[in-house]
Symmetry: C2
């Protein structure tokens, strides 16, 4: 949460996030076409957001964990344009967007915070465009693992161990790859001694190798 608030401010801020909502694993927090009312701050659990076309093709647009905000897609048209699916039992803070806007007007720090969250999402998606448009399977996968473990580490988890909350298929959808390719890349990295994999559990044995695959230039 943003800094620079006094206790009185905190009181008001609390009002915005008063209500909570639980979503079971596999459940939808919102889906394409739902009227937009609120942003959601993830308290616990793990989500994916995805869009799907009439022809059935799906694209996972992101994976979100505790502390991250989902629902920004709904602001522009007052309807959500993607699905938010819980990948494990989750709890979110419901933040009615009208309240967010009202308090933003009152507290510049909050306003700035909201703007940064949206800008961060834009920049993240720029990076995904680079991944999808220019990079090879192994590079995408290395980037994915590094990003995931970095975000987990920022939340107090290990830098080297993680338990994947998503299937190979979902990883593939996010990275623009088919399940088989994801599976082969897991195997390849495992054979090369870069990671150790047992189902959803992954241990990163050689983070530098991953970074090198993602961006060889930084090691010269």
């Amino acid at each position: 949460m943003p800094v620079g608030f006094n206790p009185d401010d905190m009181q008001k801020l609390d009002e915005v996030v008063a209500t909570r909502r639980r979503v079971k694993r596999g459940g939808l927090l919102f889906s394409n076409g739902d009227p937009f009312t609120s942003l959601y701050a993830i308290r616990t659990g793990f989500f994916k957001t995805c869009i799907s076309r009439e022809d059935g093709r799906e694209q996972v647009t992101g994976f979100q964990m505790a502390g991250e905000i989902i629902g920004l897609d709904g602001i522009v048209s007052d309807y959500h344009s993607c699905n938010a699916v819980a990948l494990e039992d989750a709890e979110v803070c419901v933040m009615p967007f009208a309240n967010v806007e009202e308090l933003s007007r009152e507290f510049p720090v909050l306003q700035r915070h909201v703007h940064k969250i949206m800008s961060r999402e834009i920049v993240r998606e720029n990076g995904v465009m680079m991944l999808l448009g220019n990079m090879r399977a192994e590079e995408r996968f290395a980037a994915f693992l590094l990003n995931l473990v970095q975000r987990l580490h920022a939340r107090g988890f290990s830098q080297s161990e993680l338990v994947l909350r998503m299937t190979r298929e979902e990883i593939g959808s996010y990275l623009g790859l088919k399940v088989e390719t994801v599976s082969r890349t897991f195997s390849k990295f495992s054979e090369d001694g870069i990671i150790e994999v047992k189902q959803r559990y992954v241990r990163i044995l050689d983070p530098d190798a991953l970074k090198k695959i993602f961006n060889p230039q930084t090691f010269y």
Copy 2:
């Protein structure tokens, strides 16, 4: 510009966009690493935004035309993370972000407007992720042409004729394709009687064919 303002309000709004800036073809409006100060509303001209990696690979993240806003990438870190290049002589309104935020607090309509612009960009990028992750060269290209002509039409230009402001290479970079593939797709569509091409000039002869390539489901 948003509706719901009285003349007094307009006065204040004008202050935010008081300064203008010209950028010559090929010139940079801002580039990666520049301190972020302002958003830019395009008055005339045409831009591309792109990010580049140390290894030289480039990804065009968007093409922007009159009325569109660029610079949102800078909000999150106070530094720009992409380059904005004018593809033809251009003029922009410089909107210092501090002013934008200040006036947003005063005018809920403006606040809402800013939020929608950012959300629209997020949703647009979601769509690009679908293009890059799931769609084939012809589908991407059809989507690109339809999107471009639709935006031009909204600005009073023809629904069927356009002059491309970008090179084949830049189109390819945006769509995750190589120049040769872009060129071949132009030729293919031309042979199929879907478009007529002469250099940068493109005439869409069969818009339904394009829509069908982009999304066959809508025609059943």
